[in-house]
Symmetry: C3
Subunit: 349 residues, 3 copies
């Protein structure tokens, strides 16, 4: 959807500095953008690339605009404005309404005419799709599921019985929503499965990455609130609640019955154990293990950075005796104190 | 399957204390159960919720029964008894025997009349399904696989050639059983694939979570013994053996040729390296890395809990010099000893 | 494909020591091989098993050949030679050309006669398969994808729009290539999706494990170079580049825009954060977290081995105060220095 810079500036509330006429058709990186592309500048580290850019225009903050060698589109939040422009120039593919002849749709499922059900998809009895829903190739929707308008399951997504998904969500390939929670009672030496009778309720505008899994609740429901974004290979256990607009990166997992607040940012490979509560506006950095509830907004860390192997090995070996070293230090401190005391007394002897 | 409390008590060997007549239809949590629901009390932390419960009855240990404000169903292991009652009130959906017309079943595959093969499933040549097996929508079973009676593959499960699965197993969506082990020989700068000629043999009553992967053995087989329970996103490498009734939580992985004993509990995000042996009755806590064989039952840990970021950063920085600090401490200790010795000698001078 | 030892030795450039006539039909382990099987000896730890082997022949280095109790096939790299022999005796199943009637292939997709498209597969418009490509059961190939000759997608693989895959690659079940990168701009309290307009380009001879996910690039492409091998459940984020012949084990992930060099070995559960550069010939050991660029080839570590739980707990508790202990040690060192100086001065007093 090509447009000239005047139209772009107008539509996305940017202040145009420079020639309004060039037509842009795409977006690009600072260093790679061609003369028909728009790019953005958000990180001062890339000042060198800004100077050499061939882009038609750069979305940029006021304070850096003077450094822009091409047309500047001045905006308060260049990255967000860029996102909107990119989506305008490259709109998502619109659904092609209809049910592919190879799809298997239960007789009593509700599929509006605006929805698209792709090849080899399966839709179970009593399930309801909203307007313009896309059920991609190879997706499986169980019984009595409800999928809100404009939600897209890209391919090979599984949505189990009774799961509810809001509007405008995007589910990537391999996602599983509504698998059983990992609930078992010990029964002598065996495990006895606890029936997982709840379901999963997902809000609006939720983005779920490839091969991510979200378990149904045991009795009550697992809840994913509006605007949550989950990366690939994330695990959400039964009875968890993820607050609105929280982000979780790949390999992060939340164990059973834990509640995460709103607007949290959980980096990759973070393990959050069960039955905790993490308040809103918490950031947890990569590879952290959260074992206690967090009640104060802020940043929490738990990962040790890799080091050259031989040094790491020596340090790790010392770690095994850290408590002993600490005790020895306390002993040393006591001896030193006694010594100093003795020496102070000496002159008085 | 509604029942009155007398019938429940009788069927599940509970001692009934209170009115035998009320009919229950479902289960609930202590705090959320309605008057037609059964709940359980297993954790003294929830005493407050017990006092306020509206449940028809509570499955409870003798020692807490006096605190139960409603009908008590006294049992030695309330959680296990609850699991049985929940399953009785909410029995798993029975298979609907038959092969869906969209399923593709090889001419020489063996599918008993009691089995259910759902829409879009694929069953390869010479594979054999037991009685009442369910092959869910979109599942793929390769050639010469054997699936035991009453085993259910819920949806989009892949079982590769020659894999053997026991009876009453439950495989969640996205599970892959029998993918190639990650075996490669270095050949100058390249990797040369080692053919993975073994298969996977899974016992009875095994539960496998969504998107979990189990690789086939290189020459001999990967073995999952009876009653093992695996959460979502678990990885079992080639030639591994997991002992009976062992549990593994999400993101846990066992590398090639390692043997895990019986009744172990491996928490989430635990990495167990290859060619080890872990004895029976071992518990490994969250985010641990097991790099040596474990020969003594007990609990093993390896995860550091997250901390407020600025403090964590300071501690992590010190960790990089832990060995140097330990050496300096040893020096200090020697000096202190020398000093004390010198001072003791002094009076004799 | 049976062969006698003379033929094997000749075909794979081994020096035959012993009887040339026995016919071998398969491979086996040192301890488990039967008399019609070939095995190999590469690890001196298994000397005991070598002495007792019943194999027809052992592929072995010159320096150990004298210890071989059966026919020796002397080779410089026994494991690689074994891999070749195993593949010769057990060649991969050849494709059965043709499109299964249940597969859905877009009218303008290009599928050569030598290719095999299995049951329930879907191939999108304008996609092109090379000669002898296998698209396994339940696989989904999007629009305008290109798959090189002899590449196999085993089952339930998803390859999204415009992805390019080279020749002789092997994609295991559940693999997702070309899902959107996890790119979002903050927009007040919400996240605004950044359109992911690039794609994924995969070289030749790449092996991708079950349920592994590879995201498409934001503007430019995510690149996996020739000969890369990825285990199960690996995550490759947008705009990442993985250099030729690099290996990554299960649960390893590379965050956005990071470049990994050639011939690296990334062990399991390694987290590599975004916007880094890791040079060629780097080995990263299990459970490491890489937070800075690595510019020197070598081995890097970051995982602490699990310990008996009570000792671990004491050490972990001390870790929370490591910085304070270090400061206290520095104080002690100063006092000690002052004391020693004072005592040295004393005699001069």
């Amino acid at each position: 959807m090509p447009a000239n810079l005047a139209e772009i500036a107008d539509r996305f509330n940017c202040e145009l500095r420079g020639d309004a006429d060039p037509v842009v058709t795409t977006v690009g990186t600072l260093s790679g953008a061609s003369t028909n592309a728009i790019t953005f500048f958000a990180n001062p580290l890339y000042r060198g690339q800004l100077a050499g850019t061939n882009a038609a225009a750069v979305v940029i903050e006021e304070r850096y605009a003077a450094d822009c060698p091409v047309v500047a589109l001045v905006a308060a939040n260049p990255y967000a404005t860029y996102a909107r422009i990119a989506r305008f120039l490259h709109p998502p593919v619109a659904p092609e309404p209809g049910i592919h002849p190879s799809a298997i749709v239960a007789a009593d499922a509700s599929v509006p005419e605006s929805a698209q059900v792709c090849a080899q998809a399966v839709i179970g009895p009593a399930s309801e799709l909203g307007e313009s829903v896309v059920v991609g190739p190879g997706c499986v929707v169980g019984a009595a599921a409800r999928i809100g308008a404009d939600t897209k399951m890209l391919a090979r997504v599984t949505v189990m019985d009774r799961v509810e998904i809001g509007e405008r969500c995007l589910l990537h390939p391999g996602v599983v929503v509504g698998s059983d929670g990992f609930g078992f009672a010990r029964d002598n030496d065996s495990w006895l499965k606890i029936p997982q009778l709840g379901t999963v309720v997902i809000g609006n505008d939720v983005d779920i990455g490839a091969n991510t899994t979200i378990d149904r609740g045991t009795i009550e429901d697992t809840i994913i609130e509006d605007g949550v974004i989950l990366d690939n290979l994330v695990q959400i256990a039964h009875n968890v609640r993820i607050g609105a607009h929280t982000a979780m990166a790949a390999f992060s997992g939340v164990a059973g019955s834990t509640t995460i607040g709103e607007r949290c940012v959980i980096a990759g490979a973070v393990a959050i154990v069960g039955h905790l509560s993490v308040c809103s506006d918490v950031m947890v950095t990569v590879r952290s293990m959260v074992t206690r509830s967090i009640t104060t907004p802020g940043t929490y860390s738990g990962g040790l950075p890799a080091d050259e192997a031989s040094r790491w090995r020596r340090n790790a070996a010392r770690f095994r005796n850290l408590d002993k070293f600490a005790q020895r230090q306390i002993t040393l401190e006591r001896r030193m104190a006694a010594l100093l005391e003795a020496m102070e007394r000496k002159p008085d002897d």
